[in-house]
């Protein structure tokens, strides 16, 4: 069972919910947590696991083999991303723009654009008691996050043992990286806050998940601020609110020190129990 924890708006509590849910579930089951918020992964601060392995991730981009090149310019005209330019008697590759489709490399009549590995990021596997935890971190300066997200999912599918639960801490937003982090999930939890910003971005996230045909539930964090509009929206749209978390200075302080809320707060443990119960009901 794979559960993605996502949101439209950033800073609503995705990581808080993901780490607490994963470590709490791991007390009674086998669980895996993936941090696929690869631009700014923070789950590891909370998990504090023992490092098992590190796997560098690469992306492919062409390099120009000048002696082999006939300067026909076919590569530059094929590339839809303007990643290859023909300037006089020179072929220039702009790897940041490359999507690694391999078209230029494989359609070059003389093989003058071999694909080469470039750094993309790093995947670190940790263990904390019964929890396996994979953190994927994007190399600073790399623009595209989705290749690392895809590779991380492949790594989990191919290299790691099956677990009862797999939780994914997703990137914020509703664009390509969020889609790729959620698209293999059996169930998506959207975390929001009861403010107009939270509601606006929740609507976008809900529409996105509907396009992917995902079953969803909403967790409303920071209850006490804002207004009732998020609940009204969920009721009208027939979306289940599967949990609420109260706004409290205590939680903000625990979060700031990267401490787990469920170890300190019984009400929150009940919330997690309820969420896990609902998730099991989806199966």
């Amino acid at each position: 069972m794979r559960i993605a924890i996502a949101s439209g708006k950033g800073g609503t509590g995705k990581t808080t919910l993901a780490v607490n849910l994963a470590l709490y579930a791991a007390q009674t089951s086998n669980a895996l947590l993936m941090d696929l918020d690869v631009e700014e992964p923070n789950s590891s601060l909370f998990v504090k696991g023992a490092l098992i392995s590190e796997t560098p991730a690469y992306r492919m981009a062409p390099v120009w083999d000048k002696p082999a090149c006939l300067l026909c310019g076919e590569c530059a005209s094929i590339c839809m991303f303007n990643a290859i330019l023909k300037l006089g008697d020179m072929i220039m590759v702009l790897p940041e723009l490359c999507h690694a489709c391999h078209a230029c490399s494989e359609l070059c009549p003389v093989g003058a654009l071999p694909m080469q590995q470039r750094p993309l990021g790093i995947m670190r596997l940790f263990r904390k008691d019964a929890l396996l935890f994979l953190e994927s971190k994007l190399e600073i300066g790399v623009e595209q996050a989705t290749p690392l997200i895809k590779q991380s999912l492949d790594y989990v599918n191919n290299e790691l043992p099956a677990t009862d639960y797999q939780f994914i801490d997703c990137p914020p937003g509703t664009s390509c990286s969020m889609i790729h982090a959620t698209k293999t999930a059996d169930y998506v939890i959207l975390v929001t806050e009861p403010t107009p910003f939270g509601l606006h971005d929740l609507r976008l996230a809900v529409e996105t998940m509907r396009q992917l045909d995902k079953p969803i539930g909403v967790v409303v964090n920071r209850i006490g601020i804002g207004n009732e509009d998020v609940f009204t929206y969920c009721r009208e749209e027939g979306i289940e609110v599967i949990g609420t978390i109260i706004n409290s200075r205590e939680f903000a302080e625990l979060y700031s020190r990267a401490e787990l809320m469920f170890t300190y707060n019984e009400v929150f443990r009940h919330t997690l129990d309820e969420i896990l119960r609902r998730i099991r009901g989806i199966r």
Binding site: G10, T12, E39, E40, H102, S175, T195, P196
Partner: protein, 287 residues
């Protein structure tokens, strides 16, 4: 003209609340640009009246014409994005997975594949409530060209600033360090890094600063919710000194932030006496 970008690495630190308040004190001098195109919220406070709206086209998606398709499977075997779906012996493009590279089109001998340019969003030039202009955009669901839409919003904001003789463009950026953030940093003169004293905020601040430094962009930092963890606030300040980042303001934890958002106001409108010293101080330092 000076372009100032508000970013944070971590989401939810108060970028948009601060941007809205800055636009209130600097309304005569700025053009606002909402470059958090994934989750644009600035318009909820600035309540703009759109004067001009334009569809934004970027990138392509492949389409297979089933009448011409010979089911040879060449498209399926070259696609690196698993964007071609095989159903029995028919092939279809999976819309959300297609990156529009066109490789399939090149290898299709039956010429059954077309690339269609995609409308990925809407871009608006608007009059905002406080008297300034706002350039903002809506990105379509699952669109993967947010970096290009950010570039378009900034281009329009530059033009509007020139036409209206404004000296500053203030950009509300997105969280993270990927393509929309890189795109919002390109051409900027100054980056305001909004952080909070949590271990997550600190980690994310370091990464977003490193990205800004690669573009050689001068940075200032606002520490929001500074009293939630004084120890980490002190750690952040040490980093600011070490990296030569200007401390712009320390703002205590205050529920005026969600309160103002809920009323559709900026902090200045909610309680001018309380917030003016903070916001004016930040603006004077970054302008």
């Amino acid at each position: 003209m000076k372009e100032i970008v508000v970013i944070s690495g971590k989401g939810g630190t108060g970028k948009t609340s601060l941007s809205a308040s800055l636009s209130y004190v600097a309304a005569n001098e700025v053009v606002m640009a909402d470059c958090d195109v994934d989750a644009a919220d600035l318009h909820l406070i600035l309540k703009p009246e759109n004067q001009y709206s334009e569809d934004f086209y970027s990138g392509f998606k492949a389409e297979i014409n089933p009448e011409y398709c010979q089911s040879c499977g060449a498209c399926f075997s070259v696609c690196r994005f698993e964007a071609i779906l095989r159903k029995d012996d028919r092939y279809e493009v999976k819309y959300l997975d297609c990156e529009g590279c066109g490789y399939c089109q090149h290898v299709c001998l039956a010429e059954a594949i077309n690339l269609r340019e995609q409308k990925v969003g809407l871009c608006h030039i608007a009059d905002a409530r406080f008297g300034c202009k706002l350039v903002h955009a809506e990105l379509g669901i699952g669109a993967d060209n947010s970096g290009k839409l950010v570039a378009k919003v900034k281009r329009d904001a530059n033009r509007v600033a020139k036409e209206n003789s404004k000296d500053y463009i203030l950009v509300d950026g997105s969280p993270g360090i990927g393509c929309p953030v890189i795109s919002s940093l390109s051409g900027a003169a100054y980056a305001v890094l909004v952080t909070e004293p949590s271990l997550s905020g600190l980690e994310d601040l370091k990464r977003v600063w490193e990205l800004s430094a690669r573009f050689r962009i001068a940075c200032g930092c606002v520490i929001n919710k500074a009293d939630v963890n004084p120890e980490i606030t002190a750690m952040i300040k040490d980093i600011l000194v070490e990296k030569d980042i200007e401390l712009l303001s320390e703002i205590p934890y205050d529920e005026d932030f969600p309160r103002a958002i809920t009323k559709g106001l900026c902090l200045m409108e909610l309680d001018q006496a309380k917030w003016e010293p903070y916001i004016k101080q930040i603006w004077e330092k970054i302008r």
